[in-house]
């Protein structure tokens, strides 16, 4: 796949109260962003289990966008701070795994910031496009996380 035609696949996590509504607002305002990003709604960015991110990257996503309410504006008071902590840990974990930490990105977007959501989504697609394909999904035969966490069931020898 040549660099010019590489279309990344990105999973985006949104919170029910701010960033999902920002995405809704981007829609109702007819703002445009590239179709590479597919969203998952959580109740809160604090719900984001780091496993979800690893799972997405291991299953074929080239990048993961994590979004939530602005600090101090969390619907659940302060849970987005917990998302921030996990995000910072995740970046270090990814780096340790040899994956560019820039493949994940945290963006705050309030329900009123449809334009910001669209801009950030567009920018992130370009950033991931520049990084190129991750290809983690291929190395696990599309089996995703299970492909890494559970080694071959058949007991075949794996080349070192």
């Amino acid at each position: 796949m040549s660099h010019e035609t590489f279309e990344p696949t990105i999973i985006g996590f949104t919170c029910n109260w701010c960033s999902y509504r920002a995405a809704d607002l981007a829609g109702t305002s007819r703002l445009k962003y590239p179709p590479n990003i597919r969203l998952i709604r959580l109740m809160c960015s604090g719900r984001l289990d780091p496993t979800f991110v690893i799972k997405a990257l291991a299953s074929g996503a080239d990048g993961v966008l994590i979004t939530g309410c602005h600090p101090g504006e969390c619907h659940y008071l302060e849970q987005n701070y917990k998302a921030l902590r996990r995000y910072l840990l995740l970046r270090r974990t990814l780096a340790a795994l040899g994956i560019e930490p820039q493949r994940i990105k945290l963006v705050w977007a309030s329900a009123a910031e449809g334009a910001k959501f669209a801009t950030e989504a567009t920018a992130f697609v370009e950033e991931i496009r520049a990084l190129g394909p991750l290809g983690w999904g291929k190395s696990t035969n599309g089996k995703g996380l299970e492909g890494i966490l559970e080694p071959s069931q058949k007991g075949e020898e794996v080349a070192a």
């Binding site: 995405a23 829609g27 007819r30 703002l31 179709p35 289990d49 299953s59 659940y76 008071l77 995703g144």
Partner: protein, 672 residues
Amino acid sequence: MSGKNGHPQERIGVYVCHCGSNIAGTVDVEQVAQWAASRLQHRGVVIARDYKFMCSSLGQELIEKDIKELGLTRVVVAACSPHLHENTFRTACARAGLNPYLCELVSIREQVSWVHTDRTAATMKAQAIVAGGVERVLHHQPLEPLRVPIHEATLVVGGGIAGIQAALEIADAGYPVYLVEREPSIGGHMAQFDKTFPTLDCAACILTPKMVQVGEHPNITLLTWSEVEKVEGFVGNFTVTVRKKARKVNTDLCTGCGICQEKCPKKVVDEVYEAGLGYRKAVYTPFPQAVPKYPVIDVANCIYFEKGTCKACEKFCPTGAIDFNQQDEILTLQVGNIVLATGYDIFDARRASNYGYGRLANVFTSLEMERMCNAAGPTGGKIVLRDGKTVPKTVGIIHCVGSRDRNFNNYCSVICCMQSLKFAHLVKERTGATVYNFYIDMRTPFKDYDEFYQRVLEEGTLFVRGKVAEVTDAARLPGEEGKLIIQVEDTLIGKQRRIPVDMVILSVGLEPRRDAKEVARKFGIACSANGWFTERHPKLDPVATMTEGIFIAGCAQGPKDIPASVAQGAAAAARVLGKIRQKEITLEPIRASIDESKCSGCRICNGLCPFNAILFHEDRMVSEINPALCQGCGTCVAACPAGAISGTGFSNEQILAQIEGLLLLNLEPQPA
């Protein structure tokens, strides 16, 4: 039958909505439905249809018929945002006998057709989203909504006109109301005004009867000089902690005779009610018609509290009501619903330093002008310069100060055009002065407003279209000495003009209360980027918030005039009454729970919950979640290292399956 692996027992129906051309214009909806029918068949999809408007009654009947005739056990609707129609489709499923929580609505309008242009790419993304929904719905659990009783009492925060209206409507319907106001009297900004546009009726004449009604209403507990400290609980069952600040006046004894105010030797500039233009005493009621009539002692300025002597008020009080030892009281209120009507602050005109407010004596703000026009105000209703006697011969009124200005606030403050026209009329009527209005655009859109504008035009007020660059006292041309010169580009004639005037009135914009964000946090609601409280829906749900049981009214939600504030106060009351009459409320059953057999007692989750919903059993060394306090954010679910916590509606299985679906990992191989 439905498939070879995965979930052969589940029978899923997929419904793809055209939304007229809203979705079908960009997404090949027929293709999406056909694709789902063939490539997701082995995942349990037994039928996939596309339809013009899924949310129409015919569209809903389509789903209901399939549930009954094809024995569907799960439903995926690909249409608009779940925030719009999730309930519609859940209800349709329930009508056909399917548990409503076995329905998943995925958004291919807000997230696909409205934001993408390439038809092929958009169609492919819509397919991925449908696949995500199908994988997710396989892990849905049938749920029952939570039912909790609703407490009949309501808390109204803010005693301006919006809060007064809300409190009266609810109290008149026969339910108890606590009205909390942080100033010594209710009345809000409206009590400061002289005349109200466009009818020019006197603000006090129409407001004070309502204030008295509040004060005397058997169903209203009025808590002035009080502030909400803490809010706990949820819709139907809020526990609110209110600090009733010490008035230093025993309200059981006080008759409101006013002798203490007369005798108090300490004069203080009244920054709140008189907008800094007049004085009050250290013991005071903000104005004579204050409700309640009881004064407060301003401890920071009272001579007795400063120096330990004076006690003039105590000496002269005929009923012995002064109580210097009175302490703050902490009240705990149980309420079912809350209305926030906390109002606005005015833009600080000093920030627009080019207009010279605070530096040039005869530059006034609109609020100062209200007090000056008011017959009960510091000048007795005379419009005079800062020296207190000179009547101005020319007056310039500058619109949009702090509004529609990228340096300050980009929004329109709504009331300033009409307010400026009102001042133009009053100044002309009372002084005969020449009045200039400097406007960017004239905005007079409501009932009888434009008629008022026409009237002011006919009265001979001069209008200059252009944003004023500067107000200065540096005279350059003859005739400018001793005047304030307004430098402006008159955009209708395309020329720079210098207009000398005696007095400048800055029509300052409205801003969110300085502590609006803190208040929003306290009550668990959201603020817009500008700082106004965010409504549930900007058009269809303007007084509800994202937090069940908390409503907003008046300028706290955004700039608006008195009629709109009153309408919102009444609307919020109607919503509250609707809730109270339901007796109990149904809540989304999105809650976390702990499997005690898996819990290791590590207590990691305990500190994560801001609602204190997780309690730890020392005896059994396990944690437990109180479903009544849990708000369903899922942070503990994500944090539990043992996987002992699960969250309904957003379980690990549901999210992980949705990821697989979105990444198209579970497709039936394409037929050759």
